[in-house]
Amino acid sequence: MIADKKILTTGNEAIAEAAIQAGCRFYAGYPITPQNEICAYMAARMPEVGGTFIQSESEIAAINMVFGALVTGARAMTSSSSPGISLKQEGISYLAACQLPAVIVNVMRGGPGLGDIKPAQSDYFQATKGGGHGDYHLIVLAPATVQEAYNLTYEAFDIAAKYRNPVMILGDGILGQMMEPLIIKQMNPEEVNKRPELDYILNGCKGREPRVIRSLFLGEGELEEWNAKLQDKYRNLEIELNRAEEINVNDAELILIAYGSTFRICKAVMTQARRRGLRVGLIRPITLWPFPYATIKNISDRKRKILVVEMSSGQMVEDVRLAVAGEAKVYFTGRTGGGIPEEDKILDKIEEILK
């Protein structure tokens, strides 16, 4: 086994290397800021490991190339940023319907429309509530550090394969561009060989009956039956996969809830607030779908206040309200268009709420 390696790198490059280490051998993408480093890294790295890199003619083509590679059983990924992810939604709906284990990275920037190229978290609804047509869910993972971007991307390939469901890594422009130390866990070849043979892939029907991958069900009741199977999987995922990090929640009068880069800001806010004698705790959803409703429900009581912070006009806050179900008062503060929530302003808001 190869020893682990420590380097200084960006979130984008950490995501790309994690994919390589996780056995991703097909990447198709289209340039868009602030995730261009992923494309460039893959262009250089894929040939070294005998994989395929394609700069596609569009985001639509990229997601469909990934569809094709997944059909044959390859591990495959595409990445983009907000406007590009909108273009991929048709393909994402098909991937979910056909149960193909894609890994899709969204390094979010400001929207709507062309927006800007600065960090944002305004694609939460799109990522967690559908985005494309039909009843489906992506598994959505939200890293907060470069190391976690690496770890979650690596894990995303196994999660996608285990559940036969596309996984989205939902980062933002800060995480993508920021450099931090990263420990690269080298791939264990034995682990790769242990992967079970996939029984749905198309690679020529030698020695077996021909297979079909499809999402079209025209027969009476067929689609409803297929959808019920998908929903069973989603219910199971809600039990098995929801994750959150809790800090200082037990004695907290006010609990901050934030994910991704905003979590890092809130962590600093919490430390400052504690210094001022304010009992502030922090919860970070790591899986945005399935959302950690239970974790938030458990800390909700009428004496507690909850403050959700996002780089959006308030999207995740809706899931927090669902989890809390009126048991605690929920406040929101956020900025959009590349504006980054400031520690002082969040502190002021906390003091105002607790007054």
Binding site: T52, Y94, G204
Partner: protein, 268 residues
């Protein structure tokens, strides 16, 4: 007793859902016959389109995936790059290929992807009951051109196969038809040669097949054969539009014995 005519192994034992007089059944059968003759049934993966051929997987007796509308060349790109030794082809209609999927087609062709496209051109959107296709000919009446296609308003019918001919990555292009037995034979030969171009790793190949749609043309099946002759062929001339250039490439396509000798490179 020698059996002269039988169902190809590459076709499933099932009934067609196509309308009477439709050309899709003929083209499906020709593709299946060629794949049998190439001995490739167990090494083929096809991409079905959205349109009348959407359930091609109900008929082809080999691996088939569906694809979003117009995206088969992108899907096939991902498949061929990960399975370079398999025969990968898309089966697409004129709406799928020449309207919503124009970008995917042109760029797969321009990359010289070693895939084959079977392009069935019947000048109309059949699945949705007969709207104008990019290939609908001038003055042809459809649901969305009730007074006939007007170049001023609707643009001209798209000769997309000729458009592709200028791309260096494209190695084989032919336009054939299936309205007469002779043309059916030529279509089969063209499909064979297009697949052979792929198996010889030369580049992108496409066969455009002019086909009948009596239902949406609002004519009888018999009249639809005349319709191909009188209305389509004058605008879409038949023939080999592009073939491999070098002598070496030509020989390898023409040589029938090369079919059986094709050796698969084991994917590492």
């Amino acid at each position: 007793m020698v059996k002269l005519y039988t169902r190809p192994e590459s076709l499933k034992q099932t009934e067609w859902h196509f309308c009477g007089g439709c050309g899709h059944g003929i083209v499906h059968r020709l593709v299946a016959e060629v794949i049998d003759e190439l001995g490739m049934r167990e090494n083929t993966v096809a991409v079905a389109p959205v349109g009348c051929a959407v359930i091609a997987y109900e008929y082809f007796n080999f691996d088939v995936t569906e694809s979003p509308h117009g995206r088969p060349p992108a899907v096939a790109t991902g498949m061929k790059r990960t399975l370079p030794d398999r025969l990968i082809f898309t089966y697409q209609g004129d709406g799928d290929l020449a309207a919503i999927g124009t970008a995917e087609l042109v760029h797969a062709a321009n990359r010289g992807e070693k895939i084959t496209v079977i392009f069935v051109n019947n000048a109309v959107y059949g699945m949705t009951n007969g709207q104008m296709a990019p290939t609908t000919i001038l003055s042809q009446r459809t649901e969305t051109t009730p007074l006939g296609r007007d170049a001023e308003r609707d643009g001209f019918p798209l000769r997309i196969t000729e458009m592709l001919s200028v791309l260096p990555g494209v190695k084989f292009l032919a336009r054939t038809a299936v309205h007469t037995p002779q043309d059916i034979a030529k279509t089969k030969k063209a499909i064979h040669d297009a697949f052979q171009v792929q198996l010889n790793n030369l580049g992108f190949s496409l066969v455009e097949v002019l086909s009948m749609c009596p239902t949406c043309w609002r004519v009888s099946p018999r009249e639809s054969l005349e319709w191909v002759r009188n209305n389509m062929i004058p605008y879409y001339p038949l023939g080999r539009i592009k073939e491999p250039e070098s002598e070496e490439e030509k020989v390898s396509v023409k040589k029938k014995s090369s079919i059986k000798k094709h050796i698969f490179k084991k994917k590492v």
